[in-house]
Amino acid sequence: MSWLQTPNLIMLQRFLDVDAMRQTLVTTNVANVDTPGYHTRDVDFRGEMMRAMNGQADDGTSPFVMPVRGLLARPDGNNVNLERESMLLAEVQLQFKTATSILHTEFLQIHTAIHEGQ
């Protein structure tokens, strides 16, 4: 572990990675709102962050993608719920912004240390 690879930074990096993957899938769901037979999918966000907190995120595996259960399907077999997806769009975006500003602060601290607090 190099001096820059603090647990905080590794955790934040993983968080941003998984968040970006989640954005990919939410966008896919929104794009396919009118595709017959399409099923909503999502990453196992909670499970992946648990793994990251236990220090298992470094083994190069990717988070699980699973179909979302409990959504009402339309007669054409499509079960995209626009309310769910628009909430997720906002949520993922704010989470991403939060993580980037924390990351920014982490780097600012290192910067302060390099410049001896001046």
Binding site: M21, T24, T27, A31, D34, F96, K97, T100, L103
Partner: protein, 147 residues
Amino acid sequence: MNLFRVLEISGSALLAERIRAEVTAANLANVETTKTENGGPYQRMNVVFGARPVGFHSFNGMMLASLADLHAEDVRVVGLAPDTTPPIRRYEPGHPDADKDGYVSYPAINPAEEMVNLMGAARAYEMNASAVASTKNMIQAAITILS
């Protein structure tokens, strides 16, 4: 997958919904069209959407892809399907397109149904446009790490 590819997924949906709106508008415009190039009344068109996995540009890209990337699918218009509902026949013996019994074939188009379709396309377009805005915000947030 980087966030710029995510923009492309939303872009594909914007295109597909626009085509849907165009075809619906054509259906609405031709609600009374009794003569076409192929002869006979205008035939109502249905847009068929299909999900298509986002292509990988290289073998390397494929190997580095995460499960989420492999499940990312953009949307394409896979075809235009003509509606097979038989035309509506109206008795108008003076009409130039009337058959020998005096009936004119009009396309079987329900304007209310087309309007609903048009609204659906417009709403889906808006939703995808806000997905683009959200992804753009994320890219901008990532840039601020540098500053």
